[in-house]
């Protein structure tokens, strides 16, 4: 596949800008996504190749502009929905419910 993830050699991506003293996670939700990935992976819901392929199927513009752990969120959510562990309606419903509560 030569999708947008196949970045090696591409021009025009700009400077690298390494961040000094970078934290392991940049937001609480990134920490949660990492933990959920490990536990659902260990639970046998998907394998590494399926996970990577789910990232590679992201919309290319979304892939390039989103933070890294959003790729993981997208892949994990897609695979858990595909396997029937979650439904889109459940997720939407829970988001609407949580939005009304304080974080």
């Amino acid at each position: 596949m030569n999708g947008v993830h196949d970045l090696g050699g591409m021009h025009g991506m700009g400077p690298i800008n390494p961040e000094p003293n970078e934290p392991v996670f940049h937001a609480p939700w990134e920490r949660t996504v990492f933990g959920l990935f490990i536990t659902t992976f260990a639970g046998g819901h998907f394998n590494v190749d399926e996970f990577r392929h789910a990232i590679e199927r992201m919309d290319p513009a979304h892939y390039l502009r989103s933070p890294y752990y959003e790729h993981w969120l997208h892949a994990m959510e897609s695979l858990l929905v595909q396997r029937g562990a979650l439904t889109p309606d459940e997720i939407d419903g829970r988001m609407a419910q949580l939005a009304k509560e304080p974080a």
Binding site: L7, P18, E22, T32, G35, L36, L86, I91
Partner: protein
Amino acid sequence: MPDTHEDLDTREDDVALRVRAIESLLIEKGLVQPAALAAIVETYETKIGPHNGAQVVARAWTDPAFKARLLSNATGAIAELGFSGVQGEDMVVVENTPTVHNMVVCTLCSCYPWPTLGLPPNWYKSAPYRARVVIDPRGVLSEFGVDLPPEKEVRVWDSNAELRYLVLPERPAGTEGMDAAALAALVTRDAMIGTGVAAAAGAGGAP
């Protein structure tokens, strides 16, 4: 790209809400145990990181027999120090020498040796690094403040889901009398990715 910071913040809020929703549903369904989740995150935030890889490098600098094992069977030699596991199942160590400098990338995604280096920094997973290091490694090195003599060969290794690379940096001059613990403090994360070199004696340092 979103036009304003407000757009970005709104999107990030939406992502955070989505994550909370998925987390609560998975816990409710018994598919994820909160205690296991917390333990995993804590392990990768506090226990597993470049200090592990630095011990491997320092041992290789001080123990020629270990270095020989590390270069011929990295996975086995690293396991001697206890740094095995997920995303470190098949390791290759590439040695920097006076004539060769090695760099590591994962052009397709983010493959990285977790047991020795921890989770990768954002720049390692970013489009600019992945795109450029394979066609302009010296330009990338300059951006990291490393300027190599033109006659030094630069080799760039592309990691994959099965195989992960670790760079064995050159031991800095003036460190002959130092023990492994003191040497490990000179070994930065970037030196083991190849976007840096080991710190000079007396300097120490991160990243």
